[in-house]
Symmetry: C2
Subunit: 138 residues, 2 copies
């Protein structure tokens, strides 16, 4: 009945992560193994969904610790909900910044200014962000 469990190597291959990374995640509470086959960790197939979520979150700039907190969330944890909502708002800013950067790069990749960084159009892309977000960490 334990036939559907995945070996760590299998999870590593399917997820594109190194086994060491999986152990690291387990250590940090992001994933749980379903048991062992000898010394080998085995995982339930749904760990792959979990890993996809983690990859997405990591790519969105969340730290391992933050992800761990979010994964433990229950509906009555209002503090955490607030934290999530705040993060969602921060993501809006990040998206705006990435969009600006993308536009700037796109322009730069075909602008003829020498050097490119002096191009007024290019500069204009960034002037709205003159004052930094005093964001802690990141």
């Amino acid at each position: 009945m334990a036939e559907s469990l995945l070996d760590i190597a299998e999870v590593a291959e399917r997820s594109g992560l190194a086994p060491s990374a999986l152990r690291f995640y387990e250590n940090r509470g992001l994933i749980a193994s379903a048991g062992r086959n000898g010394l080998r960790r085995t995982y339930r197939p749904d760990v792959l969904e979990r890993l996809a979520l983690i990859a997405c979150a990591r790519g969105a700039g969340f730290t391992i610790a933050e992800i761990a907190r979010f994964l433990l969330a229950t509906p009555d944890d209002t503090k955490l909900r607030a934290h999530m909502a705040k993060k969602a708002r921060e993501l809006e800013e990040d998206i705006a910044r990435l969009t600006r950067m993308r536009d700037g790069l796109h322009h730069a990749s075909m602008c003829m200014h020498e050097p490119l960084v002096e191009c007024p159009d290019f500069k204009r892309t960034f002037e709205s962000s003159a004052t930094l977000t005093p964001s802690p960490g990141r």
Copy 2:
């Protein structure tokens, strides 16, 4: 005539960066000082624009080395242009990921599933990203 130059402390305060970070950036070729007043670095005011650009690029996931390369770009550097265009495309993916994450978080912040991570709507947000981008680095 050098009246308009800014002292490093002034630049630090206005940009929100630590003086050590400014020295670090100078060391890496991201900015240049206009000279010294005694030992003290002085900068032309336009360094602030430059720093805003750098902050934006950093926030968009560029490494210091990448930014340095981009800042030296000239219109005839076709390789670098290609690199820029590629980066712009990668940013599209990043934006998509951040958007998904934002939507997921937004939903999670008011979903009633116990635990939140098991919510099917929440999961659906990420299922499209089942296979990881095998992006190097980041």
